[in-house]
């Protein structure tokens, strides 16, 4: 089963509201299996929504519960620690309206807390998310509401979207919403300790999403310094480097993009680009 080497596996999806962007099914299964295993091992309540068709549910259950990729999944299902939720039924129950869906999730979370679980881990496969809220605007509002739930309750969420199935505009909105924790095929980004940590490789396959993250983070920085921790960045292409240089050049006079432990090839690119305005190296 494929796993990404873009970032530390032990913390994948442990951010409050993470986005798993997957280009192929094998990679998705590897990431989700690891996420489920860690949640179950930690004694947390897990709410999982597989794709809503009978075939897809059977497939998802087969590898989650029956394949051995998620140790203890069958027992967790039997005990109620792992709840497999039918997204189609959820739509029928809520009409796909984000407010009703959020109310439903609040009930599940509070019930889990009443049962003594320390935290609740929630994840949904892309088709399940679209089945729960077929209207894109409702789904976007649901995602925003989930983001707020993670601040009110001991909840963390892993949203799964495939690059081949998601509309590019919608994917862009999802990247901007989840910018503080994104797991992609060959790169990963996470906001931690007042820095944006970037792992892996940045190239034409993911540059657009990286730029969205960078711009969203700069927006949150509110005109102050933005710290990028690049110690685990293994590759960056010329255009991604040029984007960093461009955004740094646009910073306010006193502010800068601070690059922590940038790889040598990025330093060479920035020198060759003649870019130093708004950039600091540490």
């Amino acid at each position: 089963m494929g796993t990404s080497d873009a970032g530390p596996a032990e913390s994948i999806g442990s951010g409050a509201h993470a986005l798993l962007v997957h280009a192929d099914e094998q990679l998705r299964q590897g990431q989700v299996a690891g996420w489920l295993s860690r949640a179950l091992t930690s004694g947390e309540k897990v709410l999982y929504k597989p794709a809503p068709t009978a075939v897809k549910v059977a497939f998802e259950l087969s590898w989650v519960v029956g394949s051995g990729h998620v140790p203890g999944a069958a027992e967790a299902c039997a005990s109620g620690q792992l709840d497999i939720i039918d997204a189609g039924e959820l739509f029928e129950f809520t009409g796909g309206m984000h407010s009703a869906l959020l109310d439903y999730h609040v009930q599940l979370i509070e019930q889990a807390m009443d049962e003594g679980y320390p935290r609740v881990a929630m994840s949904a496969e892309a088709l399940a998310l679209h089945a729960m809220a077929p209207d894109a605007e409702e789904l976007l509002e649901l995602e925003r509401g989930i983001d707020e739930l993670t601040q009110r309750y001991p909840v963390y969420v892993l949203c799964q979207y495939g690059t081949s199935t998601a509309d590019p505009r919608f994917m862009g909105q999802m990247v901007q919403l989840h910018y503080s924790d994104i797991i992609d095929a060959i790169w990963r980004v996470r906001w931690q300790d007042d820095r944006l940590h970037v792992w892996g490789e940045l190239d034409a396959s993911n540059r657009e999403r990286f730029v969205m993250v960078l711009d969203s983070t700069l927006g949150e920085a509110g005109g102050g310094d933005l710290h990028l921790d690049l110690a685990a960045l293994r590759f960056i292409d010329a255009e991604a480097a040029a984007v960093i240089a461009d955004r740094a050049a646009r910073m306010c006079e006193a502010a800068a993009i601070v690059l922590h432990s940038p790889p040598a090839i990025l330093c060479q690119l920035l020198v060759t680009l003649g870019s130093s305005t708004g950039l600091r190296m540490r």
Binding site: D203, A204, S205, F235, A238, L269, T272
Partner: protein, 313 residues
């Protein structure tokens, strides 16, 4: 294709770069024209770079006497013995180095051994644009009966004769010359050590790993390997962007201390300058190829666009 207006051409003749052709009949005339240029530059404190073959260099040193010690002499092969785009990059970097302290500079160049007309046409034409804003006098000497002399007559805005530089009425728009004389294919390298196809940007990571493994086999140091990987990545990215869904190809030749990679795609390069300088509004892939390889040769043919890149340990 016409990228320069007449106004731009006029400005090019009188600001920044002074690109002079020197078509000489014999060695006496060559020395009579170049020695005063070198001495005048030295008098004003400008750095002087002289790129000659050894015979001319010796004669020039004799004429200059002690002043020769202040001139940076470099063998012609070190500057001109490369693919046409790499020649451009080498000259541009040399000029940037010379003018870094803020003074002007003078470069005297002589390369009669270079007879490939299309190669010479490329760099002589492109330098007019690439160095346009540099405060440099570039005097390119060529025997008047040499096969390359007709190229010198159309690629230099100025001609040096009788101790002065005069407007060249035969100077032609560099962009038109480039369109008429694009770089041709280099000699084939035979069967590659390895070959891979590329169809999608999701494959780039695997192709970088593939290239890295071969670079290590060639004995490249880590810094050189990283530079090569970047250049190959940019060539593959550009090929995918040009290909509109068709496959590109990466060929690799490994030799002791050298790796050569060639990326081919069905789309043609549309930048007539082939990345030898960075142009606003243009993707930077080709520019990165030129910057991060020891040598790079880009050309179009009926199959599409090709980028051959070499890196040495």
């Amino acid at each position: 294709m016409r990228l320069m207006t007449d106004t731009a051409m006029t400005a090019l003749k009188h600001e920044g770069l002074k690109h002079e052709g020197l078509l000489y009949r014999d060695r006496g005339e060559l020395l009579a024209e170049t020695v005063p240029v070198a001495l005048a530059a030295l008098e004003t404190g400008e750095p002087v770079l002289a790129v000659f073959d050894s015979g001319i260099e010796k004669a020039l040193k004799n004429e200059l006497g002690t002043a020769a010690r202040e001139i940076d002499f470099r063998p012609a092969r070190e500057v001109f013995g490369w693919p046409p785009q790499t020649v451009t990059t080498v000259i541009r970097r040399s000029v940037e180095q010379l003018t870094r302290v803020g003074t002007g500079a003078t470069v005297l160049a002589h390369h009669p051994e270079v007879v490939d007309p299309r190669s010479k046409t490329f760099w002589e034409a492109v330098l007019n644009t690439v160095l346009a804003k540099q405060p440099v006098t570039l005097v390119c000497a060529c025997p008047s009966d040499h096969p390359a002399a007709p190229i010198s007559r159309v690629t230099h805005p100025l001609l040096r004769r009788g101790g002065t530089a005069v407007d060249n009425p035969d100077f032609r728009d560099p962009a038109v010359l480039l369109a008429e004389n694009p770089p041709t294919a280099p000699a084939p390298l035979g069967e590659p050590t390895a070959r891979r196809q590329v169809h999608d940007s999701a494959e780039l990571s695997g192709l970088r790993l593939f290239s890295r493994q071969h670079a290590l086999r060639a004995g490249l140091f880590p810094d050189s390997t990283d530079s090569l990987i970047l250049a190959v990545n940019e060539a593959l990215t550009d090929a995918l962007e040009r290909a509109a869904g068709a496959a590109g190809q990466l060929d690799v030749w490994v030799a002791p201390s050298t790796i050569t990679c060639e990326v081919s795609g069905p789309g043609h390069f549309t930048d007539p300058y082939l990345g030898v300088y960075r142009r606003p509004g243009h993707a930077i892939h080709l520019w990165a190829i030129q910057e991060f390889c020891d040598t790079a040769h880009l050309w179009n043919d009926h199959d599409g666009g090709h980028a051959r890149m070499a890196k040495h340990a």
